[in-house]
Symmetry: C2
Subunit: 311 residues, 2 copies
């Protein structure tokens, strides 16, 4: 009997994923029958993305796991009937893309590159020599797969990196803090702050006026994580007051960010259009295949979501 | 008898270097008498920078070494009377600053950050997802202390880096080529090229029309090395034709770059004002002290210039 896999990530993604998934299943030695529509009671695994073809999991009575194509699961955990295991995507290419975006933008702020890119006016600003990275305090909020990889890449460039996570973690090369008091310590005096936290009830609006006030004067904030981690009004107020030097934002409460949103016109904000990390079909398909292999072998799934925590 | 050291790097640098050098000499256990003016025949070592107070070394009959404060020595090797050993500066902070500039600008081009920084116009350019670094071919010309360190930092971020040097070298993590045929191979199809070669008769105008034509269409060129490595007219022609995508230039034939120079106004050129690497007094002073210690102990100098090669 072949394993039945329903591709429920939507018709837009089907052409991009059909061949890479089939190839990954074959590579993993799995006999899979995959389709966009299968009778719910016959589905073994669901490949999922929010906005796809399933919004209620109750009819999927024999489904062994829901395998999400993206890293974020905040739009999935509350869906009705989701009693089977849910797995997040941790795509190696996604991690690489995120590391490149974070290191590139941290260095952009560290080196002050925008001043030169935006002012090719014939003025030789030789006084703008940046300090070396070992004199620049970076704080990474979130020490999951993405945050840890980014923090370590920054530490390899000599940045002193303080990492923070809700529960205690250890990441080699980083000063790791946790809990509410650790958060205040991690933010105090930080010159560049990167947000890579999961979105939960606790992390919504985490970056508010009080926490922004802890940063070093003129600090830069980089958010490639989730839009609602930031209290947008507090962010704009801190930027307007000049306390915060710059915000580079890749994620927003509404995407695409509407053209009339004040972030676009603000001189201290750089909007990037959700480019930090995009799941790549080839590598993501191999992760999906590995989790189906594990499900069939009775081995614990990779990247399984803890429903109580929400990620 | 104290060791006599003449600080001949000019009165502008004396205030910045006086205390750090004295501290470094004391740390190294050296009994040094340092001044801006000493009778030439009594000088044991010269701390030097071009444009300083010495242009003829003939009167320095007992001088054991000329210790340059900068990495580049092309303005020194031809000075009259320079028969004693000449040492370049290889400042660890200078190497760090260079690595940060090179990695920051390679990632800036790789990620296409300028498009976003320069166009905050409300258009959500989500189609501009960059490839991952492992799909981006980077070529590093020059595998000295700076080129090797930059190449390895880029390789650590997964960029496939091809390095080239005049004579064969091996740098772990890089594909290393050498000689004239190796140069053509290193440039062919390269998407981002970084110039960190010493300036010699052979490397002047190395980047000419023919070599620019070898690069991938739309490639980016980054020059934090020496201005005359590039044939400026050929560079402008390649940029105007759109064959070359962008040039980020930190060094120029004339510095400060005159306001009327076409590089400033060219939409495909980013001028940065020689910020890639600046010698730092504290770390540079420790290198000077170590070389004086070596000279006194009869141990070979660090970073001694080969006069025949010119670097």
């Amino acid at each position: 009997m072949p394993i039945t896999v329903q591709f429920a990530a939507g018709p837009d993604l089907w052409p991009a994923y059909r061949a890479p998934l089939a190839e990954a299943f074959a590579e993993a030695g799995l006999d899979v029958e995959m389709a966009e529509k299968i009778a719910p009671e016959q589905v073994d695994y669901i490949v999922f993305a929010p906005g796809g073809t399933i919004s209620d999991f109750a009819p999927y009575t024999r489904c062994k796991a829901v395998l999400n194509l993206w890293a974020g699961v905040e739009k999935i955990v509350g869906l009705p009937g989701l009693t089977m295991p849910l797995c997040r995507m941790v795509d190696p290419a996604l991690t690489e893309g995120m590391v490149e975006y974070v290191v590139g933008n941290v260095l952009r702020h560290h080196l002050g590159l925008d001043t030169h890119v935006l002012n090719q006016d014939g003025i030789w600003r030789h006084n703008l020599i940046p300090p070396v990275a070992r004199e620049r305090k970076v704080t990474m909020l979130g020490l999951g797969a993405l945050g840890a990889a980014c923090g370590q890449a920054l530490a390899a460039l000599n940045f002193p990196v303080t990492g923070w996570s809700r529960t205690p973690k250890e990441v080699p090369g980083l000063t790791c803090l946790s809990g509410p008091e650790g958060l205040a310590r991690a933010l105090t005096g930080a010159e560049i702050v990167v947000l890579l936290l999961p979105l939960t009830a606790e992390t919504t609006n985490l970056i508010d006026a009080g926490r922004l006030a802890l940063l070093a004067p003129g600090a830069a904030l980089i958010n490639p994580g989730r839009g609602p981690l930031i209290d947008d009004a507090a962010l704009l107020a801190a930027l307007d007051a000049g306390r915060l030097g710059h915000a580079t934002l890749d994620v927003f409460r509404t995407e695409p960010l509407p053209p009339e949103h004040p972030f676009w016109a603000h001189p201290r904000v750089t909007v990037t259009p959700h480019i930090a990390a995009d799941t790549r079909p080839a590598s993501a398909s191999r992760v999906i295949a590995e989790n189906i292999r594990r499900g069939e072998a009775g081995v614990p799934f990779l990247h399984r979501v803890d429903r109580a925590r929400g990620y």
